[in-house]
Structures are given as C-alpha cells and as structure tokens.
Amino acid sequence: MSRKRPRARSAAEAAGAEALLPDRFARWFAARGWSLRPHQRALLERARERRSTLLIAPTGAGKTLAGFLPSLVDLTAGERSQRGAGLHTLYISPLKALAVDVARNLIAPVEEMQLPVRIETRTADTSVGKRQRQRLRPPDLLLTTPEQLALLLSHADAAYLFADLRMVILDELHALVASKRGDLLALDLARLGTIARDAVRIGLSATVARPSELRAFLQPQCEPRRVIRLADLVVTGGGARPDIRLLESASPLPWAGHTARHAVPEIYAAVRAHRLSLLFVNTRMQAELLFQELWRINDDNLPIALHHGSLDATQRRKVEAAMAAGRLRAVVATSTLDLGIDWGDVDLVVNVGAPKGASRLIQRIGRANHRLDEPSKALLVPSNRFEVLECRAALDAAEAGVQDVVLTRTGALDVLAQHVMGMAAAGPFRPDDLFAEVTSAQPYDRLSRRDFDRVVDFVATGGYALRSYERFARLRPTGDGRLRLAHPRLAQQYRMNAGTIVDAPMLRVRLVGRKGIPAPGRPAALAGGRVLGEIDEGFVAELAIGDTFVFGGEIVRFEGLRETDAFVSRAWDNDPKIPSYPGGKFPLSTHLASRVRSMLADPRVWSSLPQPVAEWLELQQHRSAIPAADEVLVETFPHGQRHHLVIYSFEGRLAHQTLGMLLTRRLERARARPLGFVANDYGLAVWTAADLSQMIAGGALALGRLFDEDMLGDDLEAWLAGSSLMKRTFRVCAIIAGLIERRHPGREKSGRQLTVSSDLVYDVLRRHDPGHVLLEAAWADAASGLLDIARLGDFLRRTKGRIRHQPLAGASPLSVPILLEIGWEPVHGAAREGLLRDAAEALIAEAVGEKT
C-alpha cells in the first residue's frame, strides 16, 4: 500500500522525540503546558514501525489519547491513496456508551488542532440510513462495538470497506477478552487481518495479572504452534498508591446476609464528608436496598442516585449527566459503572459487600480520582463476618498490586458456528482458508481441523448423525472448492440473531396508570403507565399478585402481567415482602480464597481484624478447630431436628453448588438421607436425617470416599441429565450457534405453542445424538461457567488426604453464617416431581375438606 510519509519524519528522525509529533500537535501540547508522556511516545514509535502493541496504564494516564495519537498523526501526514472506502482507524469498545463518550472527548482536540479528520460512532442506536451510508462512505475514524464489527464483516462489501484500514484500537481490552464476546472479537480481528494485512492493532488495558495473555490476543498466531506470538508491550507506572480502608462499624457485625444494613449510617457519613462518592454493590437487588436505606436516613436531602442495568436507559442517562455536571453527591451502582467512562470528579469509592476479586476491586477503586498523582480513596464495607476476611484479603492484594483474573480461554464452538455463518453471508469461502484464518486468532489457535469441520457441518446441515438434512443445506459447494450460502434470506436470519450476549428473558416493569390504581379488593387495570425498567422473567415468575419488592429505588406492589409487561403500583410498606437475591453474582476468586485460607490458619494476623471477627475465630478455635492452610475442615453436628455436615472449602458459590448437588447424591446412596443443602462463597452445609457423626465413627461413611474426585464422573453425568443449569447453558449455546432464534420484542405473540423450546431440543439431542457438537459446547461452558467444575476438580485433588473431620455436639461459630444463608436447594432430581405431587395432594386435601 503506498502512502505519503509524514514530511517531517525522515528529516528530523535523528532529532528524536519531537519528530514524532507534527507541528500542530506539538503546538497544541505546548499550549496546554503538556509534554508527550513516555507511553504516548512509545506508542507513536511502535505504530511507526507498524508493530501491534498493548498499552497497560492505570486510569487517568491519558490512555485513550495515547491510543488515538498514532492515527491522528498518520491522518494529518498528507494525502492518502485509497484502494477501498477509505476507513483509516477502527476503534472497538465493550460499551456503546463508552464509544460515544470517547468520540465526544476526541472531537475537542481534533477541532482545536483543526485536523482534517472525520469521526463517527456506530452502535445499535445509529439510524439505518446512517449505517448504510457508513458502509459506502465511512469516516476516517469509526468508533463501534464488537457486535457492530461482526455485522459489518458479514456484508459482501466488507473487503472494500476495510481495504484501507491502518489501525485497530481495542479499548478496555481486559474487559473484552475472556468471554464469548472476546471469542467473536478475536475471530473478527482474524478476518480484518485477512482483508487489511498490515493494519496495526493497539490494545488499551487496565493493569492485568499476565499481560502476555492480552499480547497474544492482539497478535495473529501461525505455525509452528509451539511458539505463541506476542504483540509489543508498553507499561506505564501505577501512580500514587490507593488509600483503602476497611470500615469498622460501631454497630454489631452481622453473622450473615449481604445487605450491610448495619453500616448504612457510617456510609452516609462518608458520603457527607466527600464531594462525589461511588457506592458499588454486587447485585441489582443490593443496589436497590442500599439506595432505599440511605434515603431513609437522608436528613440533609443529599442528591443520591441509583444506577443499574435493570433501570430504563433514559433514567440511567439522566443519572450519568447529573454526575458529570457535578449535581450529585453519591451514586449507588452495580458493575454498570465499572468500566472507563469518566462521569465526574469522584473522590471516594465505597465497595459494599464482598469484593470477590483483587482485580475487580482495583478496577473499581480506579474510578475515584482521575488525577494520577493523588491517591484514590476507597472504603470497604463488609456485610458479614466472612466478608471481613475477604475484604481484608482483597485490601492486602490491592496494596501488593496483585491481580487475579485469568484472561486466556479456549474459543467456544457455538461462537465459531455463528462466525462461519457470518463469513458465508459475506461471500463464498474455501474451508482451508477459513480454517487458517480462524486458527490465527489466539482463542482458536489449538482448534483441531476435525472440530472445525464439525462446526462447518453443523452450520451447513445441523451436523446430525442421522444425515437427513442434506437437501436443506444452508451452505452449498460452488464447484470450485468453495462453500456459499444457499439463500440470501439466510444472511438476513444471521444478522437478526448475531452477537454473543444472550440475556435471560426480560420483562418491562410498568407503573399502572392513575386510572389503573385498584380500589381495595379489586384487581388493577393493566394498561398504560410509565416504564420503570426491566426485570428478569424468572423473578416475576415467582411473584404472586400483591407481593411487594424493591425496584427503581421504591417499594412496589406486583399487580399482574400482560404480555411482556409486569405491572406494579407504588406500595407504602416499609419492608418489601420479597427481600433479595442471595450473594453476589461473581464467585470468590481463587487468589482471594487462598489469601483468606492462610489468614484463617494464622492466628497472629487475627489481631489486625476487627475485634468481633477476631473473637469469632478464637471461639471457633476453642469450640471446634481452625484448619491449616493446606487442610479442609469438615464438621458434623446435630442441630435442630437434623444432622449437619459443613465443609469450609472457600471455592466460590458456583463450585460449592455443584459440590452440594454431587455430595447429596452420594449421601443418598450411603443412606444418610440428605434433605437439602445451602452454599455460599466460603463453604457448604448439607443437612441429613441420619446421624453423620455416628456413621463416620462407625465406619458406615468414609469422608475420603465421599469427597473422592471420581464424583466428577458418573455422578456428574447423571445429575446433569436433568439439570436446569445445563439446560440454561444449552439455551445460550443454541441461540449463539443459530440453532434456535432469539426472541425479538413484539414477536412473542406469534403463537407460543409454535416455538420450539431449547429444553425440548436439549432432551431430544441428549437422547438421540449424545455426541453432537452443540452438547459438547454446552458442556465446556458449564464446566468453566455456571458449574465451575474445573475449580471443583482442583479442590478435590488438592485436598485428597487432607480432610480434617471434627464431630461436634452442636453448630460451630464458623458454621453460623453458612447455616443462615438464604436460598437453600432441595435434594434429588425427583424433587420437581415431588412438587407436582404435593400440589396435587394439596388439591385433594382441599377437595375432601381438610385444611391445607
């Protein structure tokens, strides 16, 4: 590709740094009293050498400007010769709001320097007309999301659109990879690499545990596979050390629960003492509750707002604007505000509840204070005793600068299937070429040819052992060794269903109109009304009319459902009837877990913990035992009418739930008559009808056998057959792979009895085609995702022969928070049948005149 070099460059190269910046850039920097920062300079140099580079910098270091400088300089350098549509730089962000925000921030310097650069965004909100125009006459810089990139690449004109691409900027790369979204992005980058071979990739990321994972993601991989190719790395220093404190509340520290209600007065005091506070919680429900509690004591009428993913988008935009304008004093938020959008001058971050991971905490703390030279200030508020340990561990990790997120993953086969369809929509392809392209993407660099062919076969005919769909094939040979789409309609179908984000079905929450407010004893008229936001369909399914719950910062009464709207009215109760979802959405990270274990094992550090926690641990040592760091403690004791087994494994809620399911199956076989179990991030409690201490003492039950790793074999297989978790996982795979269609709003009405549910497909497939590629994809997801089997396996291996059993006369201090956890699971797969039976028996009892 021929291009005029910037004039100044060759002449002044020896002069060093200044040569990197053309005059008007240099003047612009000088006018602000700025100089080129070392990492900005490094990126300019790397880009000039056409080397892909990862930039790791903390928030506030001018990361975004550094990422765009090479493009702006290149675009200003002079005339460009065009082969295609002229798109120079593609910027990809994980959030459309971030893309819009970055565009806004970029336009100011571009106008001030009077650069001849056109900048546009493209998101799902961009009008159809503008999107069409962008494909023919794109701007110089296009700011967009991974999903939009996939759609752009599925058009026949993609080769023309991207022919002149020189630069790809991937913002918040750490948040984009390590998910199915990252898989899709990797595949799309591979295609961009085929179209515009010498485009340079620049990754921008917060501090991560292993930068090489991101560097490999940026760089095309090729033979020989033994060597992993890495992009260059530029790291800039960490700025001031954060100032993190653990809140020690004056109120007694709760044994269990996740609301931190006891600490609300102190949180409020902290808000009062700062300019703008961000209050992070782990779930939407917790956000609602904290917001509610704060307003209950908000005597100063401080402007405190709420921000989470369920709220209506316009509502969220209002909060963001108010934040940016400095009109708020505090915002209660979930992970929706985790990422790099700069909404205002935050001077305090409060993390309420468990931090769950060191990287996560550092990311959140980074939201405070965007001036590099001042320390970010953060307050950790544990909501129960175990969380004190976890907060302390996270604090230590953050101060030591330890990160704990693993960013490498094996690319998912369902995502690959979607991508193959998208590439076919762009035009005929040769399988050999596509295989080479796909395996240049790091997540797929170990993909076998056999699996690739299975996926292509799945896309073509469904990939079934019974090969009855050949005549309906979606891909057909062209005669010259290529495959083409059988019908243009299929490209349309692909575009309607593209993307890897499959949300649980959501319902709109509407306030019943004034006319609809029910008279006492009369049902509400379900019509009209303002939209408050969206809520999980599964949550609504459990509600009865009249139940109250917290939503959008107020307590509302459920009035009923109409199509996809859940109607509510304002309720005046003080306590909602349906309290909250238990726990956090993210499981405790492996790194924090091991810190918590060693903290527990070392009584010398207890004195640094809040006094109630230290006393709690001493009591545990006295009454039962404290496990050594490499041991796992199992207690058995009678409590209430039943017997309990509690294991302190610290492997996160998901792995514990899986362990609970498998353990209860085994206990059932051992005739211990398990009745139920409850799991949280720290441990698991199973209750049984049989006396476990006696069974173990008498040799009827061996703990070593009970916790043997082989439970991950047949037991797991048998349990998964009917598991709703597995069905949910399969549904996501089936939608991503294009086996079943997404539900589009407004189209549900077209006859629910005609849609085929993924559960039915799952059952049929398991039975008739157990080796099918989609079942394999779902299994791989379950193992690493909802079931966390990999982590459970590590745990079982690590603790083999290291189980310390402690029979007790009653509950131990350590067991109380686990026993008090809400959301217990009933035992055995037959449980659902039991529900129907109970419902039927209730009817019979009613019919024969007994009270139920």
Binding site: S468, E542, V761, V764, H768, E833, E841, I844
Partner: protein, 240 residues
C-alpha cells in the same frame, strides 16, 4: 368442582387419572393421551410429525429426531394400554409437505404401530390433507360415546367435545419454584388435550385464547409430570 370424586384418587399411583366428560368416564394418561376403556380407544392430539425438518427447510437446523421420538412414545402407550383403536386428533403432521420429508424408517415404524388396529386421522389446520403413505382412515370429526372428537374446539360454552389444537400448558409456583408443563384442561363437559409431539410448545391455560371456551369456574387442570399426571388447583395457576 372437578367432576370427579376425590376418594377415587389413589395417591400412590398418579400414572393415570379418571376424567369424566358429560358423565362418561375417560382415563387420562401421563403421556398426554386420553383413553376410552369400553372400546379400547386411544386419543392423542397434535403430534406435529416432521416439525424439526419443517424448520430445517427454512434454515433452522433443529434435530431431526422428533418424529422418531413421538412415534416411539406413542408405541409405548399403545402397548401399555393395549389399544385397539387410535384416533389422532389433528395436526398430526406439522405441514402438508411432511410426506416428502419423513424418512422411510419412520414410515416403517408408523406402519408397524398401525398393524392390527384401527387408525383414524382427524384432520387439522396444519394437516388438512394427509397422504396415503400414512395409512389409516381420514375424517374431519368422529363421535365416541356420544362425545364429538375434533381438532379445533368450537367457540362458545359448548359441551360433549374433546379437542386439541391449543396445546394447553400450566404454570404453577410452589415452594419458591416455578414449573411449566403441558396439561389436560377441562370442566367436566368438554376437554382439551395436551400436544403429544416431541417438539410442541404450550400455551398457558390463563391465555385469552381459552376465554371463549370455558366459564370462569369449574375449570380443572391435570399437569403432565415425568412419572405421573397431577390434578392441580386453579388457585395455584400462574401466568407466564
């Protein structure tokens, strides 16, 4: 309230449930089939054979095993109840082109099931025409014990009718868990059968589509479980 006497229910056996229609004692089976013992007649609705391949022909590659699964389930219940007559209550085929797509093996299975018994295809909106290759007799409506058997239920509060077409399903919520299953829906005077096909979805019995068919009270629902058929109180029913 239910058109049945509760003491006749044996709690330890939920496999079948007596359902009376205008005083005639039918037996509902957990598979979703209805049985008339005096004439050893089995009634099933909405088999939707070749639904998977119908989707495949439009570009959605659903598994091609639904016809096989439906026929094998049907064979099991015919064997278990030793039916002499089978009445398929319409929408037995997902569309009129099912004959072109069904595999020779599945047709052979159907032929074996049909041997030595009377087989009646009641036509439905999905299968107004049923090809000769499917054997059996064809009719739009048939009477059994003075009860009309047709695919689509007649609008209005009529009696003496057994129909399919609507794929009734019920959702209940109990102990904080919600459960959605196909069901029989009736009021002692008429009955709607659940869909029998492997890939058939369900329409919630609280949907407006059921309003023109039944009065508000006296509605009874029997939900299909894995191991049995369960009568469910109307107050437990939930919308989707």
């Amino acid at each position: 309230m239910l058109g049945l006497r509760p003491e006749r229910l044996a709690l330890d056996d939920f496999k079948t449930q007596p359902i009376s229609i205008c005083g005639k004692p039918f037996v509902a089976d957990q598979s979703g089939a209805l049985y008339w013992p005096p004439e050893r007649t089995l009634i099933v609705a909405d088999l939707h054979l070749e639904k998977g391949s119908a989707h495949a022909s439009r570009g959605l590659m659903l598994p091609p095993y639904d016809t096989r699964q439906t026929l094998l389930r049907l064979a099991q219940v015919i064997d278990r109840l030793e039916a002499d007559t089978v009445i398929a209550l319409g929408d037995s085929l997902h569309d009129t082109k099912a004959a072109e797509r069904i595999s020779a093996e599945d047709l052979e299975i159907l032929r074996i099931i049909q041997q030595d018994r009377r087989w009646v295809w009641v036509t439905g909106n999905h299968d107004p025409v049923i090809g000769d290759c499917f054997g059996g007799e064809r009719t739009e409506e048939i009477a059994l014990a003075g009860i009309a058997l047709r695919h689509e239920p007649r609008l209005g509060r009529i009696t003496h009718e057994i129909a399919g077409h609507l794929h009734p399903a019920a959702r209940i919520s109990i102990y904080g868990t919600s459960l959605r299953r196909p069901c029989f829906l009736g009021n002692g005077l008429r009955l709607i059968l659940p869909a029998f096909g492997a890939f058939t979805g369900g329409l919630n019995v609280l949907d407006d589509a059921f309003l023109p068919l039944f009065d508000d009270d006296g509605l009874a629902v029997w939900m299909l479980g894995e191991e049995g058929l369960y009568p469910i109180a109307a107050r437990l029913l939930r919308r989707d």
